[in-house]
Symmetry: C2
Subunit: 192 residues, 2 copies
């Protein structure tokens, strides 16, 4: 339940964000959203066309926040390696999974071009940021020049997304850290 | 629908496996299982205690097959690097996601120690196999001796699991391959 100071449409969006993260799109019923938001059915249809429309607003907001968090780590101070490390080690609710990545396992999200778009765009944007930082590190001699920066960016992003999977399987955030530690060892700047 | 030559309990298990892969546990209703299996409600409760019991049989079988497929690639011919490459590049239905990894995003699977166990054990087993091969490669001088084999095994597994996420987000298997290519470049045997 959310504070009465929030508008009904805000409460609906925030409730939907929570439920999508916890239970996914398929597992989130309009009834559960209304209950959590403390709103009536009429108010949902007053503000949104239905569950897909409300989910789209929720996913867009979560995507925006995830992208901003990644940018904060990646555009912070330090060498390219240090910025990648900061991104990999930034505070995460690992056992909750990635609120955006988890949606890719949701058949109704993937079947809808509209719902999938913010998921795809967010991951692509973070991948591009990572690739740019790898390139910067290559220019500075931190990373081997023969590496394809776009591919390495994808590997970094995949390790994070897969790290969530391993942590949730094991029931422990340590499994995420282990995968990240391995990647950082592979990326470690050359001392040659 | 499955062939009439299969027993009812077999048809129930196979239908459940398909539906878990497609829609996850939360998205799979007993009704959908019975429809796909062409079975009546009575037959499900004759063979299984209910949806969790049937899902456990289905998940165990899928886990067993996934582990066997990983073992085939990893225990095949070639150098340690080549066997890791064979595992990473083995034929996969990338856009369907990993039938085991995807279950980690399913709240009801993760909330049940019984349903989570085969998921955890399978991923842990593949991670151990990978770590063993990395160690073998270290003994042969293919991989840097300072790497922690267990961590690198986790990174390889995470890249695969995250590769599925990226591919489903992008709607293209190429995103999986890009992440794998990056990892293989980072793992490439030292020529020194």
């Amino acid at each position: 339940m959310y504070t009465d100071l929030m508008s009904t449409s805000e409460r609906l969006i925030e409730s939907t964000r929570d439920l999508l993260w916890e239970r996914g799109y398929v597992g989130t019923s309009p009834k559960a959203i209304l209950e959590r938001a403390g709103a009536g059915q009429g108010s949902m249809y007053h503000h949104f066309k239905g569950k897909p429309d409300l989910a789209l607003a929720a996913i867009r907001r979560t995507a925006e926040q995830l992208r901003a968090a990644a940018e904060r780590s990646l555009e912070g101070p330090g060498t390219p390696y240090e910025r990648i490390e900061a991104y990999l080690r930034r505070e995460r609710e690992v056992l909750r999974g990635c609120p955006i990545g988890r949606l890719t396992m949701d058949p109704d999200v993937i079947a809808s071009d509209e719902l999938r778009a913010p998921v795809d765009e967010t991951l692509a944007r973070i991948g591009e940021l990572l690739a740019g930082i790898v390139e910067e590190g290559q220019r500075q001699g931190q990373f081997a020049p023969e590496l394809d920066a776009g591919r390495i960016g994808a590997t970094i992003l995949a390790t994070v997304q897969g790290g969530y999977v391993l942590a949730r399987a094991a029931g422990s955030p340590a499994a995420f850290d282990t995968a990240v530690d391995g990647l950082l060892a592979l990326l470690a700047p050359r001392t040659a």
